[in-house]
């Protein structure tokens, strides 16, 4: 799951750094993820994992690190990403 999260961040996060250079706990906003890009990351994660983020998760803190995103996805019951 971590690899897929990193792939989504690389494709949709508009990050100025290589996502793979960041630890799972690194603050993505400090690393250059903008709030608006985090919305795109959220929508791309929904597509990749076939889940929907509920209202209570629609906040910046849900996407502040790879680990935080993984926690949110696990809480939503996500497992393997959707293929194709």
């Amino acid at each position: 799951m971590i690899d897929e999260i990193r792939q989504v961040l690389a494709e949709h996060g508009r990050m100025p750094v290589d996502v793979d250079s960041l630890s799972d706990d690194a603050d993505l906003y400090q690393a250059g993820l903008t709030s608006h890009a985090s919305v795109n990351v959220m929508l791309a994660l929904e597509d990749a994992f076939d889940i929907e983020f509920p209202d209570e998760m629609l906040r910046k803190s849900t996407f502040e690190s790879v680990a935080a995103i993984q926690d949110a996805l696990i809480e939503l019951g996500a497992s393997a990403p959707v293929q194709g």
């Binding site: 608006h36 890009a37 919305v39 929508l43 983020f53």
Partner: protein
């Protein structure tokens, strides 16, 4: 009895119009419903170029308000900060939910906002008076 009064708090942010347009094209209503209120969507216009400009300034305003509220443990979600267009066209900030609670804790009762767009970005500045604020964003009782 001593009375420690207020601090002026300010927030500002900028948002690329092109990025908003790209999100509108890629995700449409899924994107707008995640971030914007019904009022904001209704007043944004129906064409992507116009909506992108209007939503970019509204997104900038939401982020500017977050900077002003200085959230620590509670980070309000985007729809709890609404830019409402008043009669005459002037914008007003309406807080609900976690954002309203955070403002209450900081003794912020009214937020003034100014927004503009041009050069490919939307820009917003918000100003408010807050109560006796200590570092870390918590108002004292």
């Amino acid at each position: 009895m001593t009375h420690e009064c207020c601090s002026v708090v300010v927030g500002a942010d900028v948002q690329s119009t092109a990025e908003v347009a790209e999100s509108l094209r890629a995700y449409g209503a899924r994107y707008t419903r995640k971030v914007f209120t019904e009022h904001e969507i209704k007043t944004a216009g129906s064409t992507i170029p116009v909506a992108a400009e209007r939503l970019a300034v509204r997104f900038a305003a939401k982020e500017a308000v977050l900077k002003l509220l200085r959230p620590t443990t509670i980070v309000p979600h985007w729809r709890s900060i609404e830019v409402r267009r008043q009669q005459g066209g002037w914008p007003e900030i309406i807080l609900t939910g976690d954002a309203a609670e955070l403002a209450r804790q900081r003794q912020i009762h009214h937020i003034s906002v100014s927004m503009s767009h041009g050069g490919g970005v939307g820009f917003a500045t918000v100003v408010a008076q807050a109560g006796n604020i200590h570092e870390g964003g918590q108002a004292s009782d």
